[in-house]
């Protein structure tokens, strides 16, 4: 009897050990998987909610002010930075730790159809807009219709693969996708800080045109109070649906331009509590200060310092483009740009895991210093193969964006191309506002700062930068290099709709390889945005992600002073 009991305990113990081991192995993977159906109710709290103090004024140095107020049509931080606290999103990125799954906001939970093409969102009840109207499914539909199907004369910069938004009942809304997406990508796209929910009533009233409406109704944690030419003031929403938030009573955004000495002086002088997009020196000082903190968020853009016009002779020959790329010491380029912004780092065409990391790139040809001679020899050989063994007679027009790093970088490229390959360029420095005309018109041979704004959906970003617009059949709006590759377009279609992570990884790597072979542009880089704040501002994440635009609601932050 005693032996049987002992054996039973042994078996039970073994089961417990196996279950625990499985939990340890499977647990983190399960936690990292896309949030499928979080249970209701969910209310966001500050990281250390139990210690949190309430009240106070949060003084933020914000890049701005906005020139207009239509969040859906805006591509600048000036809008989302100041307006985001007035609104809620349908779902949101967890601002306390960007690596956590997508969390509920106005949608309390959701279900995904087995084919991944239909999302049904169950909405929070009892939520009111700041103008007193009730929030419901019609508002979600009206908002996403404005974003996805903007009226003919209005602009929308957000790309969401939504075919239709259907109201099932007052608190249930269904989104039907126009093409498959894995659930994390789709939910993360919805969680973009720009996709703020406003009321159907307001959208009807203004016919979707919110450019001049500084206070279109939201349900967010803060309400509009006033704005001047120097500041934008918000106050706590006393009727906010989250009983725990917000913690502070008032937010004052003071307009201080990004990367300026004025911003640095205001932050380091204690005139503001938090500053965004600091210059390198100010960021280092904030990091070094014992009573301040600093953090860098990566920008989800696909950027290069040099774009080639793939339509123009002889740059339409990928041997010439590759030769020009190989002639440049990419590590030297990296060092030049890091003088101006230490967050900038050389990168592959696509971010890891599809492309290689900086560390991986630096170990291998053509980036490793030991392979530099071979890279130059290969560049010369490629030029000879293309029919230009002793250089090109034409002088190329290199359009350079007016900024110290772009000028210095272009001068380096100009010198190296002429010295090593006999390729002459004329640098034409233009203001940032004139760059768009040149990029859109394609009136350049080479162009500096060929950056493409990214979002949560990498496939949409790649399509925007290197492929065709499926709606129009023409090249995408940000495909300034006029890159065309049928195989690439086909793979991209598969990549964007692939639901299996392993197959998606393989497809992404193939896309990256094609870009490396074709070399539509050179000197790819990734950059970050530096933030600094005083340690009495509590609740901010310890590590940055790649979507700082999604975290400006301030309902998770409190002041310890």
């Amino acid at each position: 009897m005693k032996r049987r009991l002992l054996r039973t305990f042994r078996i039970l113990g073994l089961v417990v050990v196996v279950v625990l081991a499985l939990a340890i192995v499977v647990g983190p993977a399960a936690a990292a998987a896309p949030a499928a159906q979080p249970s209701e109710p969910f209310y966001l709290k500050a990281i250390d909610h139990d210690k949190a103090k309430r009240g106070g004024t949060l003084r933020l140095a914000a890049h701005g002010p906005p020139s207009m107020f239509d969040m859906y049509a805006s591509g600048t931080i000036a809008n989302v930075g100041a307006q985001a606290p007035m609104y809620d999103l349908l779902v949101r990125q967890d601002p306390r730790d960007p690596k956590l799954p997508i969390i509920p906001s106005l949608a309390t939970n959701w279900t995904i159809s087995p084919d991944g093409m239909t999302y049904t969102f169950h909405l929070r009840r009892g939520v009111k807009f700041h103008d007193g109207t009730d929030f419901g499914a019609e508002d979600v539909k009206a908002t996403f219709d404005r974003i996805v199907f903007p009226p003919a004369n209005l602009l929308s910069l957000r790309i969401l693969p939504i075919k239709e938004t259907v109201v099932l009942d007052r608190y249930t809304v269904q989104m039907k996708l126009s093409e498959p997406r894995d659930s994390y990508t789709f939910l993360a796209s919805l969680a973009g800080g720009w996709n703020v929910i406003t009321s159907k009533k307001a959208l009807d009233q203004y016919k979707g045109d919110l450019k001049q409406v500084d206070n279109f109704p939201g349900t967010g944690p803060f309400m509009y109070k006033s704005r001047t030419t120097e500041s934008w003031e918000l106050v706590r929403n006393p009727n906010y649906w989250n009983p725990h938030a917000p913690y502070v009573d008032r937010i004052v955004h003071v307009w201080l331009k990004a990367w300026t000495p004025e911003l640095a002086a205001a932050l380091l002088g204690g005139q503001v509590d938090w500053g965004m997009w600091l210059d390198p020196s100010a960021y280092q000082k904030a990091k070094a200060s014992s009573n301040m903190s600093g953090l860098v968020w990566l920008a989800p853009n696909l950027s290069s310092w040099i774009g080639f016009n793939n339509d123009r002779e002889p740059l339409n020959d990928n041997r010439v483009r590759r030769a020009l790329h190989l002639a440049l010491d990419q590590d030297a380029l990296n060092k030049i740009t890091q003088q101006f912004d230490p967050t900038v780092q050389m990168a592959d065409y696509l971010p890891p895991p599809y492309g290689k990391s900086y560390e991986e790139l630096m170990k291998e040809y053509p980036y490793a210093s030991a392979t530099r001679e071979k890279a130059i020899a290969d560049a010369k050989k490629l030029m000879a193969d293309a029919g230009y063994p002793s250089g090109i007679a034409k002088t190329f027009n290199f359009v350079v964006r007016e900024s110290p790093q772009n000028r210095q970088l272009a001068a380096y490229a100009q010198a190296e191309w002429e010295r090593l390959l006999g390729v002459k360029t004329r640098l034409e420095v233009v203001q940032v506002s004139a760059m768009v005309d040149r990029q859109v018109a394609g009136t350049f041979d080479m162009i500096s700062h060929c950056s493409c704004l990214g979002g949560a959906d990498l496939s949409a970003t790649i399509r925007m930068c290197y492929s065709i617009n499926k709606a129009t059949g023409k090249k995408s709006d940000n495909n300034f290099t006029n890159f065309k590759n049928a195989e690439f377009d086909k793979l991209l279609d598969q990549f964007s709709s692939e639901m299996n992570a392993e197959r998606k990884l393989q497809l992404g790597r193939q896309l990256n390889q094609i870009l490396n072979n074709e070399m539509p542009n050179s000197a790819m880089y990734a950059n970050g945005r530096a933030y600094g704040w005083y340690n009495y501002v509590k609740g901010l994440p310890k590590t940055g992600g790649n979507s700082d635009y999604n975290t400006y609601q301030w309902d998770y932050v409190w002041l310890d002073k």
Binding site: G75, V432, D477
Partner: protein
């Protein structure tokens, strides 16, 4: 009446200059990415709404109409109207200009008078050296040096929001004192030199000798007989100072980080915010022309011999 063609001439120069500058207003409004992603139709609609597709003559005519009705346009980048800028930031710039002009009188007149009364003395040499020094040193450079000294010794923090005298007089004075001092001392050098040369000239006039011969007290001779006649050119210069102070404040406000109209102008130029630059330059022109008109009219009051038909 010459004022009207002067202002009209300036409007043509400003309008032409602004049209020659490169830049895309839609980038200012929607950001670089926003402007890139517009379809040609959307771009056309937005440009139409902003009036950028109108013929140049129509654009110019609309601008003149706006000026006449007091509608000074709207910032492309900041959303605010230029009138809002002027109402909010104008008082700070005006305060600096007026204080600088007053300071130039308070320092320049005594220095000039003492210098003229004791020509070629040590006092005269010292005052002339300081006058030339303050005239020669560029205001923005002196401003930077003063700011640096204030930061190092007094933990100075550049203001980030405007503070008006009726809100908090002490903070307002802290904000405008530096720019007013730097600009005022520069003007004081001019005033001192002007007062000295005018006084030296007038002191040799026959009527001054007569006044002294009559046995009048030297103070009466200087103040009532000499200074009143010597003051005319100084008044002309001082009126110009007010205009120069408005223009000069552009660099000095930047040095001190004071949120006045000068700083607005610098930001607008750097951002290619053309409506703001265009309308602020226009406003400065109008102020300058009106101040000159008032100065001309004040001559008749100061010197009854001067009459305008």
């Amino acid at each position: 009446l010459l004022l009207i063609p002067t202002v009209l001439g300036v409007t043509i120069i400003i309008f032409t200059a602004m049209r020659l500058l490169p830049g895309d207003p839609l980038v200012a409004i929607f950001g670089l990415e926003g402007a890139r992603r517009m379809t040609p139709e959307q771009r056309a609609n937005l440009e139409q709404a902003l009036g950028l597709r109108d013929p140049v003559v129509v654009q110019y005519g609309k601008w003149l109409r706006d000026i006449a009705t007091g509608e000074f346009g709207k910032s492309l980048l900041r959303g605010d109207s230029v009138t809002q800028f002027v109402l909010r930031r104008g008082p700070i710039t005006l305060e600096i200009a007026v204080l600088a002009t007053l300071l130039s009188w308070l320092v320049g007149f005594p220095v000039g008078i003492i210098s003229a009364l004791r020509p070629n003395s040590r006092t005269d040499y010292a005052s002339r050296i300081f006058s030339i020094l303050f005239v020669a040193i560029p205001g923005f450079w002196l401003g930077l040096v003063v700011v640096l000294a204030l930061i190092l010794w007094f933990d100075y923090k550049a203001p980030i929001l405007p503070v008006y005298p009726w809100e908090n007089l002490q903070k307002n004075i802290e904000m405008v004192a530096g720019p007013a001092l730097v600009m005022g001392l520069g003007f004081a050098g001019f005033v001192a030199r002007m007062v000295r040369s005018s006084l030296v000239e007038v002191l040799h006039e026959d009527y001054v000798r007569t006044a002294r011969a009559k046995g009048l007290h030297e103070q009466v001779v200087i103040v009532r007989h000499t200074l009143r006649n010597a003051i005319l050119p100084v008044i002309t210069w001082s009126s110009l100072f007010l205009g120069v102070a408005l223009g000069g404040s552009v660099a000095i406000e930047k040095a001190f980080g004071v949120p006045g109209l000068g700083l607005t102008m610098i930001d607008a130029i750097l951002d290619r915010d053309l409506p703001v630059v265009q309308n602020l330059v226009m406003l400065y022109t109008i102020v300058f022309v009106v101040v000159n008109l008032i100065t001309d009219m004040s001559y008749a009051w100061l010197d009854p011999r001067i009459r305008y038909d």
